[in-house]
Every structure is written in C-alpha cells, then in structure tokens.
Amino acid sequence: MEYFLELFVGGLTRGSIYALIALGYTMVYGIIELINFAHGEIYMIGAFTALIVASVLTLSGFSGVSVLILAAVFAVVYASAYGFTVEKIAYKPLRQAPRLSPLISAIGMSIFLQNYVLLAQTSDFLPFPNLLPQFDFLAPYAAVIGSTELFIIATTAVVMVLLTVLIKFTRMGKAMRATAQDRTMAMLTGVNVNRVISNTFILGSALAALGGVLIASHTGRINFYIGFLAGIKAFTAAVLGGIGSIPGAVLGGLLLGWTESFATGYVSSDYEDVFAFLLLVLVLIFRPAGLLGRTPTGKV
C-alpha cells in the first residue's frame, strides 16, 4: 500500500509539471491552431536561467528563500521574453501560410534554441541546486511524500486556480477566449488579436518556466536536451485531455503522470518513455479529440 501511495504521489508530482507545460501548448493551440514545438525549449531556457541566477546569487552571498524567489522571477521573465520573441520571429510572419509552414518553422526554432543553449552553455548535465524549502512536519511520511513533492503539487494547484480566474474573469481572458472562438470576429469587435496572441505566448512561457524551475529542483540536474522529451510528454498530456481545453490539459497531465509512474513502478522502468508515446499514439487513434475536446468537423 505504501508503495502504491508513493507511486501515486510521484505520478501526481510529475503530472503537475506536465500539466504546467501542457497549458502552454493547449492555450497556443486554442488560439492559433499551431503546435508550438519550441515550447519545450522555452521550459529548458527557464530552467537554465534559474540555475544561472541562483548560482550567481548564491556566490554573492544570498541564501534561502530570496534565492528561490529571485531565480523563479528571472526564469519566468526570461522565458516569457523568449516565448514572445519566438512568436514574433517564427510564427507571426506565417499567419496566412499553409498549415505545414509554421509547424516546420517551429521545429526549426526548437532545434535552434537547443543548440543555442548547447553552444552558449555546455552539453553536460549541470547539477541543479534544490532551492525549495524543506518542511519538518512531513518527516514521518517521508517514504510517501517529500517536501519537494508537496511544494510542487501545492504550487501547481495555486497556479491553476489563478489561471482559471485570469481566463474566466479578466478582460484579457475574455479577449483570449473570444480570439480562440473566432479570430476574425474577435478582430471585428475590437480585440487586438496580435496582442492577445503575444499575451498567450507570454503566459504559456511563464507557466513552462515555472514548471522548469520546479522539475529541475526535483530531479536535480538539467542539460540542453531536457526540453525535447518534456515538450513531447506535455504535448501528449495536452492531446490526451483534448487540445485547446484548459481543464483538459490538467487532466491529461495528471493521467500521463500516473500512467508513467505506475507503469515504471509495476511493469518495467526501462520503457518509461515508451509508455508516454504509446499512450499518445493510442489516444490519437481512438479518440483524436481527446478526453474533454470537441470533434472538429470539416468544412468545404
């Protein structure tokens, strides 16, 4: 039973991170129907920025929570800036192009950013300091849930609530929902579509960076390639829940996290990544619209 609980919490932790990244995919897809391939790279850049900032701060005498907060803030700011720039360079000129063009452009951007970090930093794995606070009251349950895991789950939950409020009740959220429904109509009613798209990228990137900081603290090491796998898995989560749907992304992330956790725990740990891909292929075959998605109909 304890083993089951451990796997359950492990899956929940993983799933929360997948959900954070998946939200970026799903929001961008909802608005411009593009799979933002470079999203995983944004997450990786967030983690790298946090590592650099945290190291510099630690060396100049800061410690404790201030390092965590500053590193997270820098990671979020920089990841958002990167997300914004990527959209302006690689996707905006291609709004009217055939569907395949922005997708190829996105793959190019993803390869570019990976190698940019590889050349600018290093190809080795860097140890990532655990910045998250340790809770003493969890000590009796250490076998099941650690402080890092609790922190990740709690942060994700708070962020989800904030995001829901933002989408449901603010002007910006309203504009985003309107653009997702019908871009031309939103434009006619006076929504600045370009700004909405930029905002979506910024928001998605910020969430990805947060996910990056959290997961890097959890696993303890990063390199330039972490974005690829995380990106694919988060995309799987987004598709699983129904791409374009925000609660779907969260549901998909959690389901994927549990699938991986239980499959590696009870079946075999060699094939950890294969399970995620298999799940993706199976979902797309049997329910391409995802669990909470709507089936689009073709129009002539």
Binding site: I89, R99, L100, L103, G108, N115, F277
Partner: protein, 398 residues
C-alpha cells in the same frame, strides 16, 4: 528603420544576457563573465534586424502588385536549364565527374560523397511523403533503422548477405510504413507529425532497451560491406564500390520518383496535399493514397538503411535519433518540397558544406534550425521550387 534595428539589438542584448554572458561552473562555484559575446550579439542583431526588415519589406512589395511573378534572375536560370543545348552537356559533365570521382580523389572524400548520396535517397524518399502527399513525417529515420537492423540482425543470425538483405530491408520498412499508416489515417497534419515523431522514438527506444533482440545501446558491429560476386575487395575498392552502388541507387530513386510524380497515384498525392476534402470528393481513394505514400517513402528509407549499415559496418540506436529525421526534413524543406533537383541540391549542400567548412561544424545544427525558420518565412517553396506540370492551350494546334 534604424531606430527599430537599434531597439531590436537592445532587446536581444537583454534576451541573451544570462545565457551568453554568464557561465557558471557549479562544481568549483565559479562564475565566468563573457562580455565579449554581448558585443557580438549587439552588432549581429542590429545588422540582422536591418536585413530582416529589408527582406520583409521586399516580400511585401513583391506580393503587392498583381501576382508578383518570378524574379528575372530565376527565370533566366530556368531558361538556361531548360535549354537543351546547355542542359544535356551539363548533365553529362555531372555524370562523368560523378563516375570519375573515386579515381580523382582519396577514398575519404569518396566516403563523404557516399554519405551525401545516401541522404539524397533519404531526402527523395521523404519527399514522397512530405513533398508530394503533404504528410509531415517526423519519424522518418525509424524506417532507415528498420532497414539497417534488418540487415545487421539477419547477417548476425542467418549470415545473410547484403544483396539478399536489401529487398528484405526495403519490404520490412514498407511494412512498418503501412503499420504506421493505418492508425494515422484519420489524423490531420499536425497531429500526424507528432504521432510519427512518437513512432520514431518508440522504435529507437525499443532498439535501445530490448537487449536480447537488438544488442541494446552498444549496437552491432562488423557488418559486412556489400559483396561483389564473391570478389575480395580491399578497403579502398570497397569504398569505391559502395559509392558506385549509391550512385546506382540514387539514379533508380530519381527515376522512380520522377515517374511516380506524373503517375495517377502521384497526382492523387498532390491533390491530397492541396485539399483533402476536395480530393476525396473527386473520387480519390484517400486511404489507398496515404498508405502508398507511407509505404513507398518507407521503402526508400529501408534501402538507405541497409546501405548505411553496410557502409559504416556498425550501427547502434544512437544513429537514429529525432535529429536525423529533422535533418532529412530540412534537406527537403531547404531544397524545395516536391522538387527533385531541389532535394538533391539540398542534400549536397547540407551534407557537404559542414564537411568542408570545418568552422561551421559546431554551428551545424544551429544553422539547420535557423535555415528551417528562415526558409519558411522568406522562401517557403525552397531553393529550387517544384514546377507543376501545366499544359498550354493553343487554338490553332490540335
């Protein structure tokens, strides 16, 4: 325009600051400041921004009045190429050069060119799927892995030779192509891309982890080179022989793809690419068209895989990563989707340039990525755009 470029430059200085200027050594707790990089970024992004704006403005003005049409430069070059008096001698010269190559240059050069030829075949194969049928396949290298492992494993277990393995590898890859094709029939462009990517990764991960079957990450070595009727070849002769083999395979591929393009099924693919719904309404069997595209594309990859295994005499799962698929895709994109000369040019450029310009070796993948983005933004049709066969209507001639 200058002001905008200056602002862009400032923005990029801000953007690249933590990653380019600072490098932390987490083991010795040192921070290295690299201010020189910032100067490069500042100047570089300023110039690039000016260029970017200029190109975008030019593109907008070209699109503005009427159809725009081709620039006079391009039509001149087309005219020269279409002229029989130039075209055939040029082709003949290329042919003679290609045939004489192993005698003129050391075997190292021949080996590089063989690799480039291999990528031409892979590019042309992917061109069937992506360029003609418009199905974005991001796991293409997996089919080459199927071919390569088919040859390697058949050789290890049953002692099968290269020539016996070639058709088996091709058939097996085609089978995998259909296997992948069936589940993704209903999917639209971008979903399809992700599933093919997942498929490619599954194949690689299985090869990496199923030790009893595929010998795991250490791979299979001592795969025999292609045989020539039992004649013993030394290393140099074997290299030349593989090279000629590759030329033959390349010519065969070009011939087949060229014939396919104008065939019934080729037209069905192009129609499918342009508009799936309209294509179905015109009575094209969508299932058939998609499956044949996947199967035929995979066949070439399978053959290329067998040759790859025979050429390098060693394979492991690490040679079949997503980056390889992305590289083949950028060959097709750079050259021009659906255009045979484009793909050939793209493969030669992308494979040979980094080989001879060693300076760029480190920046190779970076430039690949940048090229893919820039090509999509400024020249989505590629370096040598595909020409659609068209017929002119003349009144006085029947």
């Amino acid at each position: 325009m200058l002001k905008k470029a200056a602002l862009t430059s400032l923005w990029f200085l801000f953007l690249t600051f933590p990653l380019l200027a600072i490098r932390v050594n987490t083991i010795e707790h040192l921070v290295e400041w690299r201010w020189k990089n910032m100067i490069y970024v500042g100047i570089g992004s300023f110039v690039l921004s000016l260029l970017w704006q200029y190109l975008l403005a030019r593109q907008a003005s070209a699109r503005g009045p009427g159809e725009g049409g081709g620039s006079p430069m391009r039509s001149l070059y087309r005219r020269i190429l279409d002229d029989r008096r130039v075209r055939y001698p040029l082709l003949a010269a290329c042919g003679v050069f290609a045939l004489a190559f192993p005698f003129l240059f050391p075997s190292y050069q021949t080996s590089i060119l063989t690799t480039a030829l291999l990528y031409i075949v892979l590019g042309l194969g992917l061109n069937i799927v992506v360029g003609l049928a418009g199905l974005l396949n991001l796991g293409y290298i997996a089919f080459a892995a199927v071919g390569a492992y088919a040859y390697a494993l058949l050789n290890v277990h049953f002692g099968l030779g290269f020539w016996a393995a070639l058709p088996i590898g091709a058939l097996l890859a085609a089978l995998f192509g259909i296997l992948l094709g069936f589940p993704v029939l209903r999917l639209r462009g971008d979903y399809l891309a992700i599933v093919t990517l997942g498929f490619g990764e599954i194949i690689r991960l299985v090869l990496e982890n199923w030790n009893d079957f595929s010998f795991g990450p250490s791979g299979i070595s001592n795969i025999p080179r292609p045989g020539l009727l039992g004649v013993e070849l030394n290393l140099q002769q074997a290299t030349s022989y593989t090279y000629y083999l590759m030329i033959a395979l390349c010519l065969l591929t070009i011939l087949v793809v060229n014939r396919l393009q104008d065939s019934r099924i080729g037209r069905a693919w192009i129609a499918l690419r342009e508009d799936e719904l309209a294509c179905e309404a015109m009575g094209v069997d969508k299932t058939m068209a998609k499956l044949t595209a996947f199967a035929l594309g995979a066949t070439w990859a399978g053959m290329a895989g067998v040759v790859l295994a025979a050429k390098t005499t060693f394979i492991n799962p690490a040679s079949f990563t997503f980056l390889e698929s992305a590289m083949i895709l950028s060959i097709v994109v750079l050259g021009g989707m659906g255009s045979i000369p484009g793909v050939i040019l793209g493969a030669l450029l992308l494979m040979l340039l980094p080989e001879y310009l060693r300076v760029f070796q480190d920046y190779r993948m970076l430039l690949f990525g940048a090229t893919m983005v820039l090509m999509m933004v400024f020249r989505p049709q590629g370096m040598v755009p595909a020409i659609r066969r068209s017929y002119q209507y003349r009144r006085d001639e029947p």
